[in-house]
Symmetry: C2
Subunit: 151 residues, 2 copies
């Protein structure tokens, strides 16, 4: 199988498959005489694993860890469960953060007429000199980053 076939079969773009290989997440594919990457059913299985883990929101680093555990037939299931539950906790935390943002916005919006009049408490609150109690205080600013934003 060529990279395009694998891409279709897994739903991962050829670009990403090459990237995963380059960064060491997956083993370099064997090459045909032409230089084309050739994939086995085993590779297909691995990439499906990657795809599913990716869909569950794991980072590549975490997927790397999971793959290692997957390949290690002697590992304890506790190790796997630990990673999974750690991820669940991270997801919960993130949801909580999003919920706080949402609640604050809904609160502000509920006081906004939403008509043609210019005054709007959303903006005046954001712009006020005073610290606003209603605003979530993201203490760990350093950990809430660009890619955490919702677009």
């Amino acid at each position: 199988m060529n990279i395009g076939d694998i891409a279709k079969a897994t739903g991962i773009s050829a670009k990403m498959i090459r990237y995963y290989e380059e960064t060491g997440l997956i083993r370099p594919a064997t090459r045909a005489l032409s230089g084309y990457r050739v994939y086995s059913d085993n590779d297909l299985q691995t990439l499906r694993f990657v795809r599913r883990a990716r869909d569950l929101g794991f980072t590549v680093k975490q997927i790397d860890d999971l793959l290692t555990l997957w390949r290690d037939r002697t590992r304890a299931s506790a190790s796997v469960k630990e990673i999974a539950l750690g991820h669940v906790a991270a997801l919960a935390k993130k949801m909580q953060e999003l919920k706080e943002m949402s609640d604050t916005l809904l609160h502000l919006a509920s006081h906004c007429h939403g008509d043609t009049r210019p005054d709007c408490p959303i903006l005046t609150t954001l712009g006020s000199t005073e610290a606003v109690a209603a605003l979530p205080r993201t203490r760990n600013r350093s950990k809430t980053r660009a890619f955490d934003r919702v677009r």
Copy 2:
């Protein structure tokens, strides 16, 4: 006020303040003879606005829009409300996605002993050749990107 003072006062790093200036989110600061950026109370207020909007998870582009509306005293409050509620909807969608991931993981983890035995349904499910019904099928794969992952 120098950039360091403003950074402390707003909680935005000096680096980011320069970046915001470079990308046009905020007006270029006036300069002292030394070349140092000098900030007014007005700038402070603007940056506080940025900081709060950022804490609410708005992207820089959205903050730009909000700033424009903020500065425009004749704008309709409906425009602001629309942006805010649009963001609320995006937050809800993201939370839903995270919840699906979390539910799936919890389901898988509940069937894992979590002891020293090696067999673990989390891994076998991820690695199985069969498509797994329990796994969320992220149809809009193209829209779930790297920065959407939770770390």
